[in-house]
């Protein structure tokens, strides 16, 4: 009788442990890249999760994971104003498991350890990597293919990804960027660099470069528009000229020849 009554309870306990373990693995997969393996965060860039009162609320965590957060935020007296991208690929159950795991952490890990020492990046190398003048070691596409940084490159870069001019300010400075670059949280970027991640040194160099450009006075976006218009016009006139020449060179048809002969 007794055993029978305890059975569901035991099951629940076992389940919650399993969930928490699962939550740890999921945390490692989805969150650790930015928030750190110990959920300690990066001061000033990425808020810590261990000891963060907000993670006590499961619904909040689930929403944050699946829909993302943006805007100013204060944790432990430090204010953050970054963007956390939505991760809809994490299922609701998985998000709940992560929340469960974080809840367990918060009590034990009151004090976050100091952030891991950073590799010092070389902004010049970062620029070369950004422009694709130097290939990424694992074969990833250069950043400029998708992103623009104001003032870099004659026609700017791609417009698929966000403008990176002030990325350093948005995404947690050098430390945040270099962590993010090694394990991008953005779905499109994650796909693009799947199987060809950036090395630590490359990430550090790019982060240094992005910090450097964020401190420069940005050029207006209209500059690129003007350049694009001019380049487009030049291209179009070359095309039209080419067609006009082709048209002139085509063999005259008999109708044209007869008409011109008759007119004479």
């Amino acid at each position: 009788m007794k055993g029978k009554r305890f059975f569901p309870l035991a099951l629940l306990l076992a389940l919650s442990v399993a969930l928490a373990q699962d939550g740890k693995a999921l945390y490692g997969q989805y969150c650790a890249a930015c928030h750190g393996p110990e959920a300690q965060g990066i001061p000033g860039a990425i808020p810590p999760l261990a000891g963060n009162p907000r993670v006590q609320e499961e619904a909040y965590v689930v929403k944050a994971v699946r829909e993302g957060i943006s805007g100013p935020l204060e944790v432990g007296g430090v204010s953050y104003s970054g963007v956390m991208p939505p991760m809809p690929q994490v299922s609701e159950a998985q998000a709940r498991a992560i929340a469960q795991y974080l809840k367990g952490l918060s009590g034990a890990q009151a004090e976050a350890p100091a952030p891991a020492p950073q590799v010092q990046g070389d902004p010049a190398l970062g620029r070369a990597l950004y422009l694709g003048q130097k290939a990424l070691q694992n074969g990833g596409a250069p950043c400029q293919a998708c992103h623009t940084v104001a003032g870099v490159g004659f026609l700017g870069g791609g417009s698929l990804g966000r403008d990176l001019t002030d990325a350093a300010k948005r995404l947690g400075g050098e430390a945040g960027l270099s962590a993010l670059l090694q394990n991008p949280a953005f779905p499109v970027m994650r796909e693009a660099y799947k199987g060809r991640p950036l090395t630590e040194a490359e990430a550090a160099a790019l982060a240094a470069f992005l910090v450097q450009v964020s401190n420069e006075v940005p050029r207006p976006a209209s500059l690129y528009l003007g350049r694009y218009l001019v380049a487009g016009m030049v291209f179009l006139s070359i095309l039209l000229l080419y067609q006009a020449i082709l048209w002139q060179l085509r063999p005259k048809s008999l109708a044209e020849r007869i008409q011109s002969q008759l007119r004479r």
Binding site: S253, A255, L262
Partner: protein, 511 residues
């Protein structure tokens, strides 16, 4: 062997009177619409002449048909990559000036003109812009060698002709021309189908009619350029290409195409041919002078039990096989070897056939006579009228319509194919003329007949089918059994009652 059936038309050019009734019948039924004013799915050309569109045979300019080089058969228009780059700019396309600016007359002028000294006239206006214009070209601008001699002189089929013969063609007493009615050839290896980037053109398996799917057509107009006969037209109002449909709605209801039905000269024959679809590529890939032979080679004998069995295995109806056996086209093309496809060197394997015309009089002989007597002006041959034909028979190579010219039109320049056909026709003419005018056949005529390779029965059959055919003999139309096809989606009786009402899908530009 993959047996397929084909509806083919045959044009007996010796009978065409150049009346353009066929063109008008076609225009009234099919192209009397906005955007189609300039189209003549059926047109009749005077030859030598430039045709319509002007100079359509000039493939250096229009790039139609196929090119056979190093064992490859390629569209002359472009390769796939070139085609991609020319999607929006295709210099090989004919312009409206190559056809003509279609015009009508402002008839209201006749009634609204103010009173004056002169008769009011209706001014010509363009049917495209609506503006007053001076017509300077038309679909048969050089009809009966009218307009300017420039048209006839520029006929590409005159190439390879002796300059003396060329000059004689336009002499007052030596002038000669024939008519060439043309429709889409519903080719076995159509350039139009091959060039279409959207796959909107297809050849029906049951009768070989080549059709444009107006719902699929995206107005790339590659077919217009790639058809060597310039028989696909672009409708500028609907943004779709259009072409001769061999009056398939008429065929399906047991009537001959409108052009054939209305033909005043009764030059047109309709019938079924069986062909081997498996051997199309090999038929198109032989040197120029063997093209006619190779094409005729894939036209199958409808009496051969093997062919019949293979046809039945393909699901071909008995009615079609019977029609193929009675086909006048089969007789002219394969049994008597009197008819040829137009310009086989384009290698589209045109499936409409032409019996070349005989020359009217012996002008070259007369000219030779004139020279030998050192006389100016016309000298008639001093022989009885009845012997003239024998003279032509003996010296066909000097006939008024040069054999080389006919060979350039119908056999890719191979005179050895045209001459026997002309000889057979002449032999039959001599024989029947003697029979009906002189009441008896001479030894000489029989010798000529034998020389041409004809028996008396064959000559009689050729004569009957040429001059005295009934409607049923000219048009041997197979049963289409549309009810069987309609049954699949609808009650055939209801379908029959509703046919022809409304648009299923009105053609829309860009769709």
């Amino acid at each position: 062997m993959k047996v397929r059936t084909h509806m083919s038309m045959l044009f007996h050019l010796d009978k065409c009177i150049g009346c353009h009734t066929c063109s008008i019948a076609c225009k009234n039924i099919w192209t009397d619409r906005k955007g189609a004013e300039y189209m003549w799915w059926n047109n009749v050309e005077t030859r030598p002449g430039a045709g319509y569109p002007t100079g359509w045979e000039d493939q250096d300019r229009f790039k139609g048909g196929w090119e056979y080089k190093d064992g490859h058969l390629d569209l002359r228009l472009h390769s796939r990559t070139q085609g991609l780059f020319r999607l929006f700019f295709n210099p090989a396309l004919p312009s409206i000036d190559d056809y003509y600016d279609p015009y009508t007359f402002r008839y209201s002028d006749l009634f609204t003109s103010p009173e004056g000294e002169d008769q009011p006239t209706a001014v010509p206006v363009s049917m495209i812009t609506g503006e007053v214009m001076t017509p300077a070209s038309g679909p048969n601008w050089d009809d009966d060698l009218g307009g300017s001699p420039l048209y006839a002189q520029n006929d590409p089929n005159l190439k390879g002709l002796d300059p003396g013969v060329r000059a004689q063609l336009s002499e007052i007493e030596g002038v000669v021309f024939q008519y060439l009615p043309r429709i889409c050839n519903h080719c076995l290896n159509p350039g139009c189908v091959a060039a279409c980037p959207t796959g909107a053109i297809y050849k029906r398996a049951e009768d070989g009619v080549v059709l444009v799917n107006e719902n699929k057509c995206k107005a790339w107009r590659m077919c217009v350029a790639a058809c060597p006969y310039k028989k696909v037209y672009y409708n500028w109002a609907t943004g779709k290409s259009e072409k001769c449909i061999l009056c398939f709605p008429r065929l399906e209801t047991g009537q001959a195409p409108a052009c054939a039905h209305s033909c005043v000269g009764r030059i047109r024959y309709m019938g079924v041919l069986l062909y081997d679809a498996d051997r199309i590529p090999e038929a198109a890939m032989v040197p120029d002078d063997q093209l006619v032979e190779s094409q005729l080679g894939i036209i199958l004998d409808p009496f051969d039990p093997e062919v019949i069995a293979a046809a039945k295995a393909e699901g071909i109806d008995d009615g079609w096989i019977k029609a193929a056996q009675n086909s006048p086209i089969y007789k002219f093309v394969k049994v008597w070897r009197l008819a040829f496809p137009l310009h086989p060197e384009y290698r589209t394997l045109a499936m409409m056939f032409y019996v070349p015309p005989l020359s009217p009089v012996v002008s070259t002989l007369e000219k030779a006579l004139r020279a030998s007597q050192g006389k100016e002006g016309l000298v008639r041959l001093d022989i009885p009228e009845t012997d003239l034909d024998f003279e032509v028979y003996e010296s066909l190579e000097r006939a008024r319509m040069p054999v080389k010219y006919l060979a350039n039109l119908f056999t890719a320049g191979n005179e050895s194919l045209v001459v026997p056909a002309l000889k057979k026709m002449l032999a039959v003419r001599i024989l029947k003329r003697q029979e009906s005018l002189e009441g008896g056949v001479t030894e000489k005529a029989l010798r000529v007949l034998q020389d041409a390779g004809l028996t008396l029965e064959e000559a009689e059959a050729i004569y009957r089918l040429t001059t005295l055919p009934t409607l049923e003999e000219r048009f041997v139309l197979p049963p289409y059994h549309r009810e069987m096809a309609a049954e699949v989606w609808k009650d055939p009786l209801a379908h029959k009652g509703e046919t022809g009402f409304g648009y299923i899908q009105p053609p829309l530009r860009g769709e």
